[in-house]
Symmetry: C2
Subunit: 239 residues, 2 copies
């Protein structure tokens, strides 16, 4: 097998293996630091589920009672966009449009549901600060969740919070290879980082954290999903 | 710097550097093979733009004439979903919902526009077959393009065609870590592979091909974007 680790610009995506089951009040940064050999410039992608668990965003829910489930989903939403059977597509308090307000019954104890973190950008900042405090590394953090999409089947992992990394790379005004100005090329690298991380997580492998190593240091600046990625409803063509 | 290449499940995303400008009729597989040290099981992600160029899907277009541009976009569409200023959101002949039917003026010679490949799954199969013929490797191929999304700012790289890799990983019925059945977890790994690749491409770096190495061999089966990922309009809640 030809190995080409020397190619400049190569990224590695490394699963963080062996993380303990996370409980309310756990210091996520310390847990992650114990199982990942982090270096400056790493992007640490953390699944929403364990962030919600650490933050106590888990509530009792009778899985046999669809009305209770629907009330919970609606209480996490500011607007229900569509209903089809048991699926509600809602706009959450954060401004995300997703299935069932992100309320999730998988990988949670029977009789409970995990809600999205209250402020996922803040969650990301806390983990980032915690990793700096625990092991002295300067990393970026992305909090991720799997969202469905309009028009395309299947879910993909996207960023719901970030810290220490620009969410969107604005290439407007940068010349293309023919020297003309690109009109609008804003790439959501935060979502792409979340998707890259998901490839090594796998829903069944139960790996809730992955590290993306080797990203352009230029990307590692202050960033926010809430202010960069959430599209204001007035500018949106599909609600 | 701590290197952890030994962590099982680690992926590497390698940019393919030095590719020549692609012209109509070029054998893309031979071009790629010349600049990438491919191994069996690699996923080769190829930007739509060079596929379209090789396939001659480039047409003359007066950049000063907005009407001509709009006629071209409409001729590539089966339906215009929304209009706002110069932006049209259309459903293409392939069933993709995207901006301007995927008609693209960037990284194309002045006075020309690139159209999406006629059948991107077929394009992916041809490149895959070509790589097998050229260097005897068994790889997967994803043809990618950057698409905008409803509800979220910024574009991300997605798969518009694939060969040799399952587009969607169906984890329905697989037990979660609490032993309960996951109801619906279909992950669009093809889109996530495209997004991972984009992180090393960069619009300005002009790197139209990247290799994702180390994916689960279980994923490397027959796949298709058109039949797995394109959501039938009747099942879609947002058109």
């Amino acid at each position: 097998m030809t190995r080409t680790p020397q190619t400049p610009g190569t990224l590695t995506v490394i699963p963080v293996i062996g993380l303990e089951e996370i409980r309310r009040g756990d210091d996520l940064a310390r847990h992650i630091a114990r199982h990942a050999a982090l270096v400056n410039g790493d992007v640490v992608v953390v699944t929403q589920k364990i962030v919600s668990k650490a933050e106590g965003r888990v509530v009792a829910l009778d899985p046999e009672d669809p009305n209770e489930r629907e009330r919970l989903i609606e209480s996490e939403a500011v607007r229900v966009l569509r209903r089809r059977g048991r699926l509600l597509v809602t706009q959450t308090k954060h401004g995300f449009v997703c299935a069932n307000s992100g309320v999730d019954l998988s990988n949670v104890e029977q009789g409970f549901a995990a809600l999205l973190p209250e402020d996922p950008d803040r969650s990301a900042r806390r983990i980032r600060d915690g990793l700096r405090a625990a092991v002295g590394v300067e990393v970026a953090v992305v909090v991720s969740d799997t969202f469905g999409r309009a028009w395309r089947q299947g879910v993909v992992n996207v960023a719901i919070g970030c810290a220490g990394v620009r969410a969107i790379l604005d290439l407007r005004g940068t010349a293309d290879s023919f020297g003309r100005e690109l009109v609008a090329t804003e790439i959501c690298v935060a979502d792409e980082l979340a998707s890259a991380a998901e490839l090594v997580m796998g829903k069944v492998a139960h790996i809730p954290v992955a590290v993306v190593r080797g990203v352009d240091p230029e990307w590692l600046r202050t960033g926010s999903i809430s202010s960069e990625v959430v599209r204001p409803p007035a500018e949106d063509l599909f609600r």
